[in-house]
């Protein structure tokens, strides 16, 4: 998981993981996020605190770079 980036979502049980080694930094996920929590900064996808872990972004990602997990991993 070293190349991933995890954000604890607003409800504190789910986390959005960005697998940076897969991400094509295209912004598809940004356009569907109902919370406006995602922002693409060149080759870096930033996940904001308003993320609820709903998983819509993970579903539409053309590459499968996003994953919502239930447990907190260290």
């Amino acid at each position: 998981m070293s190349k991933s980036f995890r954000v604890l979502c607003a409800d504190c049980t789910r986390m959005l993981q960005v697998h940076r080694e897969i991400c094509g930094y295209c912004g598809c996920c940004v356009s569907v996020c109902p919370e406006g929590a995602l922002e693409l900064i060149d080759a870096y996808l930033e996940v904001g605190e308003s993320c609820t872990g709903c998983g819509i972004c993970a579903k539409v990602c053309p590459l499968g770079a996003l994953e919502v997990t239930d447990e907190v991993q260290v």
Binding site: V30, S31, C61, G64
Partner: protein, 398 residues
């Protein structure tokens, strides 16, 4: 970057570049900001545009045209193919651009017209005053600067974050995002003058797969599928890999491209106090074809012209900018979007057998105009049932 301009354009794609150039040519001071470090890269586009559509904005130039097209081929789920050509013999119908160079050319022209241009410069927030947009805050290499403007034109593409920060919901419904993947492939056997569209629920659910030539043995091979149909093990990339491994096993991929294309209806309103939204950010992509270059340039030019008029009158309120929204909706582009959205909604619900039957109705069609409208009209002539099913559209189809 100065601290004040007449117009700020957020985003340096074709829409933003045309907006900046138009406003600068009319004598306004313009700041065009692109968040990426380079104009035109990475490409997130299949790069197709119609011949007449392009000619409205710029004369074709071999430096940024990869291929000239003579026709198209539509392939049904069962493999039946229908060839489309223009009635005007020998005439070109469109181009596949080289967006890296095309976008640069457009931005260069905006700069030449007098616009200030900055790259690696990301808008991070609007400057708001009593709810009205009065500029933007930009970040460049970790430093933030506030830039004032009478009008901001949001041309920030599919992500469309700037308008969202201004309180406008730009979220694309999951079922109406085309999640897309494309390989620029070389050393493949293709017809270098024909675009190919492959349909079917196995090939590209609620979308299509395309082969757009970029040269003798080179093409953009890509796919867009509905976000609703996407998930682990069946993503855009999975469908593309499956197709490529059977159709072009010896091909070489020299560029890996991904993206999202909205095929929803446009934003319900594309203006606010001090703000106009254009192109993909306004969700004005053609919902049937997924094409957005022309629509972005068209709305960009219109928004800039509206900004010129509003600024000269000293009123950049929502009401003063509303003529932009009204004009594009009433334009042929706006009408095409409205009509093609309905056609798209109909087509995505068709089972493969029905698609097969429609495409089997003609092995080839010579279209008066090379347009989706012309194609749909021809298909309706040959498939009387379509007339009934598309009854709601009868008036607009003529």
């Amino acid at each position: 970057m100065k601290s004040r301009y007449d117009v700020i354009v957020v985003g340096g794609g074709p829409g933003g570049a045309i907006a900046a150039r138009t406003a600068a040519e009319k004598g306004l001071s313009v700041f065009l900001a692109e968040k990426r470090p380079a104009i035109g890269a990475p490409v997130r586009c299949a790069e197709g545009i119609g011949k007449e559509a392009l000619a409205e904005f710029i004369d074709p130039d071999p430096r940024w045209i990869s291929a000239e097209l003579k026709g198209a081929e539509i392939v049904a789920p069962d493999g039946t193919s229908m060839r489309l050509a223009s009635e005007q013999a020998g005439s070109k119908v469109g181009y596949i651009l080289d967006r890296k160079f095309f976008d640069r050319e457009l931005v260069w022209r905006a700069a030449e017209a007098g616009a200030d241009v900055a790259v690696k410069t990301r808008a991070v927030a609007p400057v708001l005053d009593g709810g009205a947009v009065k500029g933007a805050v930009f970040e460049y290499c970790g430093e933030r600067r506030r830039v004032a403007a009478d009008v901001v034109i949001a041309a920030d593409g599919v992500e469309s974050k700037f308008s969202r920060w201004c309180g406008i919901d730009t979220t694309v419904p999951v079922r109406e995002i085309m999640t897309s993947a494309q390989y620029l492939m070389t050393d493949i056997d293709i017809d270098p003058y024909t675009t190919v569209f492959l349909l079917g629920n196995e090939v590209a659910p609620e979308g299509y797969l395309w082969i757009f030539p970029k040269g003798e043995r080179t093409a953009n091979v890509g796919i867009g599928i509905s976000g609703k149909k996407s998930g682990a093990g069946h993503r855009a990339r999975d469908y593309l890999d499956k197709f490529v491994s059977s159709r072009f096993p010896g091909g070489k991929t020299i560029e890996h491209i991904v993206g999202g294309v909205s095929v929803c209806r446009p934003l319900s309103c594309t203006v606010a106090d001090g703000l106009m939204i254009i192109g993909d950010a306004a969700r004005v992509v053609d919902p049937l074809t997924g094409g957005g270059i022309y629509n972005a340039m068209f709305t960009g030019r219109l928004a800039a012209a509206t900004a010129v008029a509003a600024i000269s009158k000293g009123d950049c309120s929502k009401a003063a900018l509303m003529p932009y929204d009204t004009a594009w909706r009433k334009s042929p582009m706006g009408e095409t979007i409205a009509r093609n959205w309905q056609i798209k909604e109909y087509l995505i619900k068709l089972p493969d057998e029905k698609l097969n039957a429609i495409i089997q109705s003609a092995a080839s069609l010579n279209l008066k105009e090379f347009s989706t409208l012309s194609l749909i009209r021809e298909l309706m002539k040959r498939n009387p049932k379509l007339v009934v099913e598309l009854a709601a559209l009868k008036a607009s189809l003529g």
